[in-house]
Symmetry: D2
Subunit: 191 residues, 4 copies
Amino acid sequence: MSARHGDDPGALIVIDMINTYEHKDAEQLLPSVREVVPVITDLLAAARGSGAPVIYVNDNFGQWRSHHGELVEAAMAGPHADLVGPVRPDDDSLFVVKARHSIFYETPLTYLLWELGVRKVTLCGQVTEQCVLYSALDAHIRHLDVTVVADAVAHIHPHLAEAALEMMRINLGARITNGKDIGFGGGVATS
Amino acid sequence: MSARHGDDPGALIVIDMINTYEHKDAEQLLPSVREVVPVITDLLAAARGSGAPVIYVNDNFGQWRSHHGELVEAAMAGPHADLVGPVRPDDDSLFVVKARHSIFYETPLTYLLWELGVRKVTLCGQVTEQCVLYSALDAHIRHLDVTVVADAVAHIHPHLAEAALEMMRINLGARITNGKDIGFGGGVATS
Amino acid sequence: MSARHGDDPGALIVIDMINTYEHKDAEQLLPSVREVVPVITDLLAAARGSGAPVIYVNDNFGQWRSHHGELVEAAMAGPHADLVGPVRPDDDSLFVVKARHSIFYETPLTYLLWELGVRKVTLCGQVTEQCVLYSALDAHIRHLDVTVVADAVAHIHPHLAEAALEMMRINLGARITNGKDIGFGGGVATS
Amino acid sequence: MSARHGDDPGALIVIDMINTYEHKDAEQLLPSVREVVPVITDLLAAARGSGAPVIYVNDNFGQWRSHHGELVEAAMAGPHADLVGPVRPDDDSLFVVKARHSIFYETPLTYLLWELGVRKVTLCGQVTEQCVLYSALDAHIRHLDVTVVADAVAHIHPHLAEAALEMMRINLGARITNGKDIGFGGGVATS
């Protein structure tokens, strides 16, 4: 795959960052989110600057009212707007809601990537040892070329996050890299 | 299945009725849509009155910006707002976007129905010999109990619509009925 | 798609022809099967001669014992071995079992075609207005280029089969052609 | 889920144990396989004795020739027949081939479990931190009740296997237990 796609920067996928952080693991998760928000902010700026597709895939948190657009508003009205504001979608962003778990499970993401002609995805967001891991698996199984930005994915349990990154690298063929090493304007430099 | 679900009215599924009618087959489709809009309007009133779930599943028409809620607005701003207004979602409606074709293909509808505990769906909308047929197939394959409201589904080609209804009845185990025979408040009377 | 794949003959997909014909619609189906068996026999010879992949996708008829290989044996031991023998798999054939309905639903066919590098499928077998129609839909939704061999697909209800072929042609972008017009050795001539 | 399914022993799922062990990680995997084979052998005896469904889900290793039944023969003819013989399918076993990764991905397993009325699965086989983890995720996402038999799943990397078991327990709601604590005849005792 790598050979075929070369330096194509692919699409930047932002996972579950539109969040009120009111779920039960939020306290354990927040310190890690605070660290990744600036990195994701930079990734967004780079991707937007280069014209790469930016796709948010986000839990729906309850009701399915895709006609309301209330997801971002709810997160911005929550207690952690400071963690949502810098990474929220702009007018050009694509936005897909997911039920839970993988970004591909019962979502149109496969179709959307096909429509865009994109075969490479760069993952950031949360949670490393849960949705990010499951999404990397589902991307790999669909023959997509996967990059995971290690300092732009937030975790709950550090030792499981570390294991998840190793699983993605050795078992799912993902490239694990850091935000500063990704040049959306001129290809991807892998660590 | 029928025995198990008895008179459970299930969920009313409204397919592709949020529409600007600007696609190439629109002229052929519009006369049929004009006939079904009043029937769907009545179905919506009955379902809402009885507390049955109402789920819109609608083509996305282009971009995936589920954070914007622009789909209904675009349809209401189009040349056929008279066909959209009476059947548009209210605040309690659920709304799922689909890529194309079946209401189940790469959508969270299976998950949403599971979450609601619903095993029976009543289909209305458009196009009988396309999305409605494909959706009935995908509902049947998922072991859901399917009712199709014959006078609440719009077609492009009358002879193909007739064949599609017969296929749904004899090959997909669907009940084919009319709007006046469905009592969302007190079970479903089938023709 | 057509432009990209040009005269690539693709894979020949033989649907549900390994059959004991003991199901309830068998009597209505058999006359049509008798007509298509010679055409499928010729298609198989042409595809095998040209080295095109031949993939059987067949209902499993009950138990899932893919380690036993009993499906062909059971069909050959049944009352209609004359309809099975000429079209049975040889040592090079690929063979995928399906649960029911579409050749893609919960089968590895998408993966298998990807592995083979095949983006075009030519469908023959049974039943035109059921599995063949559902399979054409699922192939189309997966962006495969679909050809249906009209005189190599068997039906139960002639008027539904005719409608199904028209649906596949105008709504699912399938090429409808006849066996004599397919040249597996030198591309596909469409009617 | 647990409450609903109580002591229902569910189906025993044997993952990827029909194997020639010729792949690149085999040397690292074999010591662990040697330890789990006796436990799986006991689980098989218990499940068979109690009448619980036993379902093998196995990589296909190359060609798709489900009509040949050559998978078991090939494994028995390989250099590690001693690891295959004790755990091979008997005449009552169900057997499903998978493309790779999860036992659910493009396989009829969901359908088969539905047909059997089984909502609980007990997983054993290989590799803990790969197919077993992916399969537990896909079972969880399908609302199945999952038990993983810790001493009946084989690993390549012990630290990743440990992390995978923890992920399955805390993030995927799986019960992690040992072979001696499972009573297929009289419900499941969890550790």
